[in-house]
Every structure is written in C-alpha cells, then in structure tokens.
Symmetry: D2
Subunit: 338 residues, 4 copies
C-alpha cells in the first residue's frame, strides 16, 4: 500500500506537534495537507513538512487524503468527524471528540454508517507504563479492582482568561476518565461526586475557570475511583494511575525526565519533565502509529468512539455534580445523569 | 527525676506491643502495672516485664503509677481518660479517644481541669518520612496546600465477623483524618463526602462491615483531601500521604521492608512490610518516647485531645455521609454535621 | 538539502536494526543501498526498505550515496573507513572502529585527509540519563572527579563458541572505556589493571573466551575508574555509570522496562529490559539523528575517531594487563602500553 | 539471668554512642563501668548513665562486669581483647580487632583458651537491607557469585592531620572487606590489587594520608569484588553493596534519610543521611543486642574473631599492593601476602 496521506485540521500547538510526528516519526504515513482558518498558520505548518495548505477544512476533506487528524478547537470536533466520515476519510480526533452525548451519538452513527476508522486522542493508553499496568490488570495480577486513582497535573495556566469554563473536566480529566474505565474493564460507572475550585487563579472563578478538581466515581463492580486534576504543578507535568484490587496493586506514571540522579550537599535530586509533550512524546507517536496501522489494516483502532463517549459522560456528570453540589447517579445504559 | 512509672490498661494485641516498647525501648520509663479484666491476660503480660497485674483498672489508677497507657477497647476509652485524669495521671490513649463529640468534650474538660498530659496514638506523626513531609509543608516548601491524599491499607481481615460497624472510619481512617489535618495546618474542614462498601467480605455487609472506603474533605482554604482505606492489601501494610500545593508536592510512605533490591530472570523485586508493627515500629517507639518526655517536662505532647476530637469529627461526618448517601456540611466551629 | 542517502555495509543483527532506524526514525535520511557479501542477506534487508542491494562494498562506495553506516565484522571496520573516506563519503562506524592503534591512526589520517565526517557508535552518549549525567559533570555539579564506575551486563551468550577472544574488552567494555573518558573530561589514563575470567562458559576459556571482567583505570587527575562487564545478566540488559567527585555524585542507568510497579503477595515487582535494543532504542535513534545532522551541517559529530582511538587504547591496555597478570602503565601521549 | 553488666573501655565518639545504646536500647543489659585514661572523659560518660568510672582498664577488667565493649584506640584493641579474655569477660571489640595477623592470632588464641564470646563491630551485617541481601545470596537467589561491589563513603575529614596512615584500609575498607567475604560465603581471596590517593587533602599525602581508594579482590571461586572508599562524600554517609551472580543481582544500601520525596520547581529532591550514626543507628543497636544475646545464651555471636582476621588480611594485602604498586597474591591458608 502507498503511504497513508494525512490531512491535518487545526494548526495550533497540538496540531503542530502531531504534524511533526506524522512527518518524522510515523512510518508509512505522510503529511499531505494542513487546513486552518488562519491561512498563515496553515501555510507555515504545511511548508515546514512539504504539505499543501488550505484555510478550508472542506477543501481538505475533498482533497487527496486518506485520513484526517482533527486538532481544531473542541466545539468543532463533532461536526468535523461527521463531515470526514461522510467524505470516507479515516479519522483521528483529539479529545474531547464531542461536547454532548447527543453530538457523540450523531458522530458515532456517521462513522458507523461510513464504515471508517475513528480513533480518539487518549494518549495515556499508549504510554508504556500505563499499558503495562493495563496488561497486568487484564491478566488478573491485581485480582478484582477495588480502588483506583488517576491524576493529571499541568504545570501552569499561561493565560487563565482564555480558558473556557469546565475545561478541567472536558479537556483534562477526560483523560483520567478514560484511563479509569480502561483500567477497570467491563465495569460501568453508576455514581459521580465532583468538587472543584479556582485556587490558582481565583480572580477568574466568576468567569467559570476551575483549576483544581477531585472526582469520585463508583462503578457497578463496587470499585471506587478517584480522578484528580490541577493546573498548578510547579514541578512539571505529572500523570499517574493506581489500581488496587483483591490481589495487589499496580502503579504507572513517573514524572522524572531521565533516570539520572544527582546527590550533592543538599541531598538527592532528579529532574522532572516539564510538559505533556516532553513527558508523553513516545505516547503521542505510538497513538499515531496505531492510527496509521488501523487505517492500513482496515481494523478498529485500540481506542475509539465509544471510549470517548464514555469518558465524556463522566466529564458531563462531574460538571453536573459541581453544579448541584452533590452526588449524581448515572443511567448505566445511556451514561446520562439521572 | 525517677523513671516514669507506667500503668497499662488493656492487654490485647496493641497493648502487648506498647508494654514491650515501654519496657525495652523507652528510656526513663518503666512498666509498673498492667490491668485487664481478664486476669490471665493481665498476669501474663505483667510477668513478662516484671510488672504488677490487676483485673481492675480502678486499682491501677489508685496505684503507684505516674501515667497510664490506655489500650482497652475503644468504647471504654473516654471514661478511662476521665478517670485517669481525675486520679491525676498523665494519659496516653489509643485512637479513637472517644466515640462521640460529646464524649470527647467531656474527656477534654476533665483533662483540662486536672491539668494532666493527654496524648493520643496517632503514630504516623512520628514516622520519619511523614514528619519530614510535615516539616517541608510547614516551611512552605509546597506553597499553599491545594490537593491532599492519605491512605491506609491493611493486609487482611482475620475475622470479619468480629469487626464492629464503622470500624473503617473510627479505627482506620481516623489516622488519615488526623494526618490530613496535620498536613494542612490552620485549615478547617467544611464539607465531607464518603462512599464505602464491603468488597472483601460482602457477606458481612449486612452486619455493618465496610472494608473499602473513599472520603473527600473540602477545607476552608480550598484544599481538597482524599482519604482512602481498604482491609485487603495483599502486598502488606501500606500507609502513604501526598500534599500538593502551589509550590510543589511532598509524598511520604514507602511500604518496602528494606532497601534491598533483587533482580532476577523475572525482573526486579523488593520485599514489602507485612504488618503495622513491622512498618511503623519506630513510630510506635517515638510516640511513647514523646509521651514520657512530655510527662517528665510537664508540657503538652506533640499530638493531643483536640487533634483527636477533630479527627473524630471527620470520622463521624464520613459515617453520616454514607448514611445519607450524599455530601455533608460541617459546622466549622463545632465540627458537627449540619 | 535533499535527504541524506545512506549506504549500509553489513546486514547482520545490528546492521538490520540500524537500517530500520534509518528508514523509519531518522528525518532527513533515507536508506539507499545495502551491501553484504551474502547476497541474500543484502537483498532481504534492502527490499524491506526499498533500497538497492549489492554484495560488494566497493560498489556501494562507488554508488549514489552520501554517507555510509559500517556494521560489518569488526576486523573489516578500519579498511572500510579508509575506503569510504577516500570515496568522499561521510562515515558512521560501529565500535570498535579499529583493532589496533596503528589501524586507528591510519583511518583517522584518511578521514582527516578526505575531510569527511566520522562518527563511532558509542550509543550511551545519546542515552538521556547518561547525557544528563555528563552535563551535570560538565557544569561542575560533582566538583572534581575522584571515583567512577561504568558497567555493561549482557543477558547471555547464545553461542559461546563463536565469540572471538578478547570480545569482552574490544566489543563490550569499549563502551565503558568511552563512557569513563567522556565523563572525566580532560583527563588522561595513565595506568590500567584488568582481571577477567570465564565463569559463564568455563569450557570455552581455553579458546580465549572471557565472560567476566573488571578493569581499574587511574587517570592523571587522580580519578580511579572501575569498568565491569559480564555476559550472564539473567535479569536483562544492564548498563550503568556513576561519577563521584568532591562536590557530589551522579548516576545513570536504570534497567527497568517501564515505570510500572506491581505489588502483590510476593512483594514489589518491576519489569526489566531484556536486550540492548530494548533498553537503548532511543539512543540508537539519537546517534543516527546526530550523524545525519553532522553530515547535513558539515560539522564534526558529537563522538568521533579520536574518542574511538582512546577507548581502543584502554581495551588494548586491559588485554595486556590480563596477559601480564599485572598493572600496565600507559604513555599519556600515545595511549600505548609502556 | 540478671542484666548483663557491661564495662566500656574508651570514651571517645563511638564509645559514647555505644554507651548510650547499651544504656537505652539494649534490653537485658546495663552499662556498669566506663574506663578511659582521661578521667574527665570517663566520668562524664559514666555519670550520664549512672555507671562507675575509672581511668584504668585493668580496674574495669577486675571489676563487677560480665562483658566489655572495647572502643579504645585501634592499636590497643588486641591487647585489651587478650586481657579481657584472661579475665573471663565476654568481649565486643570495635574494628579493627588487631593491626597485624600475628596479633590477631594471639588474641584469637586467648579468646579460645578462655572460652569467652568475642564479637567484632562489623555493623553492616546488622543493617536490614544488607542482611536481606545476604539471606538472598545464601538462599541461592543470585546463583553463583561472579561480580561484587562494596563501598564506603564518609562525609569528611574534619582534621586530616590527625588521621593515621593507612586508615582508609584499616578502619574504613575493613568494613567492605568483611562485607564482601560475608556475601561470598565459602570463598577465599587469592589476589588483591589496590590503588589509592590523596585527592581530598593532597597536602597530607606525604604524611601518609590516603583518602580515596579502590581495591579489586579475586576469590578462589572466580568472583571479582571491588571495594571502594572515599573521605569526601559531600552528600552524606554512603555505604552500599552489590552481588551479581549467574542467577541475578542483589543490592543493598540507600543513603536516603527518610522515604519523603519533595518535588518543586527545581525537580525532585530527597534528603540524605549525614553520618554513620544517622544512617546505621539501627545496625549499631542490633549488633549490641546480638552481643548481649550471645553472652546470655553462651553461644558464638554472628560475627567473630575469624571474620575480623580475614578482613584484616585483606586490608594488609591492600596496603602491600599500594606499597608495591602492583598485584599481590595471598596464601589461601594463612591470608598472608606471598
């Protein structure tokens, strides 16, 4: 088969990173087009890797590409998935793949009807230590799951004023919600309690910015899971998971930059990773490699649209729990808050 | 000053351990009397260390002892504290020091009136790594506290049928509640959410046995704390704490038995501590050394009755949250559930 | 500039690995030709990545390639470097770049005369933790270097009978010799003591196979360095370094496969890396990226021919020390054993 | 049995530490007498723990003590052991127990003739991680021993001018020599190479002060062991061991003060232990507990005179290797340099 020709929609920070990885790190793929409503951004990124540029996503979808990588702003994701599916393109979409369960259902239906590949950007599933933890759980190494933890800590809020409301749930904790579901295979969430605050930038609380959050999820197998996020990790980017069960515990996540250790008169020291791209670079590569492999092999990717819908339902339930200042129950069938 | 003469009330598992430590590990103290309603138990323990035995705690309180160590069953603690205080004895009491806030208030009043020392058995405060974490927080190393975690995992339930209801909150998580308050100095809890289940021994759930619990506490400084406990830690005894703030994070707790590491064809291995006494032996010693020092120096011990009352209020709030299946608010003045 | 066209000479285990990495992991390069005296091997590898094949290295050197990667058998390295340099090709050569100091001098002269790039495959210099250790030393974080350690442990000897004599010094410890020199910048070795044995496969000792070795190097700045190697690491591939100085210590090397940790009834467990390619994959990539960058930028690579000569001189001194069963002194100017 | 009455000879730094531990940490023992030729030192230490004082060791040996702890200056050890044995006292002696093999033989003979207990202060044998490593080796967890390492790094030389020549071998590395023999059970050293220098305080080199040393020992089972010492560990006190064999590797030694970890804007940090007494406190206690137990039970202690003689023979061989600037062979029967 010829190289998978990839069109990328959205030339922002994560779009630029994905473009570079497609161009340099994913065998069997090449970056063919870049679309961004800002023509200069589209051209700058496309030129860097010898791709075509356009300011019109529809032109990209109508162009000579096999697959699209959607890194546009979140509210546009769902419609772009639908349009791409209708154009017969395989789709890799950054999270969240949609903002409402209704949107999720519509885009999943479009993807199913078109019979195209849909992968969502839950990169932690491709981190070697998270994957090893998953495999240990799946092999029964921890017995039946009873207590879980997943956390995301981001080094900082460069511009708090620009962060949309509920970002901490829809953009950040959505990773943890997927991780927790993935590490508790077969279980369904039935109850959610969330509490959140603006501790980093309290002056933006009225504008809806929450920067610190804790969520407790009760699953139907009795497992309790804690998801936790903060936007003020002074020591770098930190993602971790813990699964405790009747037979043991696995942990994943180690924010150290390298295995180098320095001891001096002030004690022992180790460097910590400073950004998501630094900490999770190989995971970003691996998820794109998986996407291209699933396109080439015409099979479902390791993480898809139903995973995204389930993680979204937990984000929406968390938001509702904060709004109600209380516990919310989920319909196990639909994932909707009762 | 002559050696502090200690009378121990309650010759059970932890009483026997404390008796041995007083006799062998605490300079400036000696075990003088042991009281237990079971005369054989009292004599066996007393004889081992050359102490007197009695089956009547009142006889011990009227005897030639300077201080008492209360390791009787929990419901008796509060009345024993009051009686000891009225007898002018210094008091070390295992947790929980009382079962209700009213009891706590009565015993605190008796202690204050008698002007005696009261220390409560929150041994984690004396674990070197927990103490180092506390000192780092107190010195501002993590900035303002935003997210916290404390957990207790116990290797097993030898006899689930004998465990009183709510033990996981009143006996186990009470350690975590104290730890979290101690590591968030000056902050007051305002809201509690608890969820618990019988996952280890579900057949005892109807009898009130809960073996797995998660609690989220919101403090008035905005910090969110998660306390977590389980009675099914297959890998040993595990207590840990984490404090995350605007300037950094400290962690304490490492369940390894020693620093020895073995690598073989199956990978890397380390032994884990199997019991609380193994993991926390030096902490048990250190709290008794502190007690004797506070008696000799006529000063307040490092951890006392108000700390115990505060931890109890969080245990009671957690129980109420489970009963209501919802979030409960606390009166910041009284610690009572609203 | 167009992609750097690379010809690879030697389609064995490490040649195949390098071919794949050039084809899939090195932006700005492409695998153009593969030469191997075994035509089937050359074709199989070339076909996999769309390259040309030949059984004649001279044909490759005369072909349309910008640079060569030499992964032939060690005794051929030096003559291939010379031929490649005379053909005006940039050269990446696996270690050892030569088998004698005279060969090394001849090949360095040829490279200098041709003005081509020469890089040698000391991949540990590109391992992130080793690099971080080096940078810390270079920045003075450990003060003046006093004690050093570098070790190589290989999981096994599949076919002891096929291992040439002195392999442990010329092929394995040569990495450690380079590492130690690199981590003690500006210092010159003046004395070497080596001791070695056949503990894994004693039946091959008479054939010259040594599988366990310890070397002590004294540098002219007083630092003592220990290099250690074994071919029987049951727990996987293990390379580590330690630099201790007047101001502190740095360590590098951690054989764990991922950061995942499992605790179960048998204690704590972590997986270990099983092969050099697993442990050092990113280092192999990084050294090839550096090679291509130095070719494109027309500059000296990070590690070159004089580094290789210095490491070789320590390997030869070690061999002489074993032969003499005693300490040998080195001429600081020539690196020759006195 | 009544408490073991202990007389301590030598009220210096380590003597004061042992006196305190006997008085406060060793059940079944009490400090009865202290002897030191400096009467003020003897009285100060004795008074602290309610013991008698004398400036005459002979008076102590003639006094009412069951056992002696010898912490006098090293050259006096051997004669004191002999005198104590002849007085029928059990003996705990700090290392080195003697300064020559002839002295060692004489004192061992006196001990044997008197039938008294003799323990030597190799405290690492009582460190929990070293003990766990030993047990793993003894149980065959690493297979046959092939490569070993033991190191001692001391934080500093307060007064280099007062350090006797060869201290690094006779006082410091003697610990490592014992550790390596203990961890390679049944093997006999046959060859030693040592190299040493004055890198910390070069101005004292002419006076015989060596502060940095590396020793390689070849055992008759083929194992090669590296012992390493320095007096300039800026980061604290550091003792470690590593045993590598056909089936795996064990490591012991972790210089961290506690398990507390701090992460902040500068990365990850851990405190390190600053002195031998801080790092090895529990080992000092445990060796004294073992001594008292062996006295009470009338049995040989865990580490005795022949262990001390063997470690001494390696120290003397190292000194001879430095003097000769070459490898020395040992007589496997006598441990003497050939």
């Amino acid at each position: 088969m010829h190289d998978v020709r990839i069109g990328l929609i959205g030339a922002g920070r994560i779009g630029s990173s994905h473009a570079r990885l497609v161009a340099e790190r994913v065998p069997g793929a090449r970056l063919a087009m870049v679309a961004d409503p800002r023509p200069a951004a589209a051209h700058a990124l496309a030129d860097r890797f010898g791709a075509e540029a356009t300011d019109d996503p529809a032109a990209l979808l109508g162009g000579d590409v096999d697959a699209v990588v959607i890194t546009a702003s979140s509210p546009a994701h769902s419609e772009l998935i639908i349009a791409a599916a209708q154009a017969g393109k395989a789709v890799f979409c950054e999270k969240p793949a949609s903002m409402t369960l209704a949107e999720a259902d519509r885009s999943l239906a479009a993807v199913a009807e078109a019979g195209v590949v849909l992968q969502v950007g839950f990169n932690r599933r491709f981190a070697p230590d998270f994957r090893a933890a998953h495999d240990a759980v799946a092999e029964g190494a921890v017995g039946s799951v009873q207590l879980m933890r997943s956390l995301s800590r981001d080094p900082g809020l460069a511009d708090p004023g620009s962060v949309p409301p509920w970002t901490i749930f829809l953009q950040t904790l959505i990773h943890d919600f997927d991780t927790l579901s993935w590490l508790n295979p077969g279980a369904t969430p039935v109850e959610v309690y969330a509490t959140a605050d603006a501790l980093v930038a309290p002056e933006f609380k009225d504008a809806g910015l929450l920067d610190t959050a804790v969520v407790v999820i009760t699953f139907d197998n009795g497992a309790r899971a804690v998801a936790e996020a903060s936007f003020s990790a002074s020591y770098g980017y930190d993602v971790r998971a813990e699964v405790f069960g009747s037979g043991g515990m696995v942990t994943a996540g180690d924010g150290s930059r390298t295995a180098m250790v320095l001891r001096d008169a002030a004690g022992l020291h180790q460097q910590t990773a400073r950004s998501d791209v630094e900490l999770l670079l190989e995971s970003y590569v691996a998820e794109l490699v998986e996407f291209v492999a699933s396109v080439r092999e015409g099979r479902a990717p390791y993480v898809g649209g139903t995973d995204a819908r389930r993680a979204l339902s937990l984000a929406l339930a968390s938001i509702e729990s904060v709004r109600r200042a209380g516990v919310v129950a989920l319909d196990p069938g639909t994932g909707e808050v009762r």
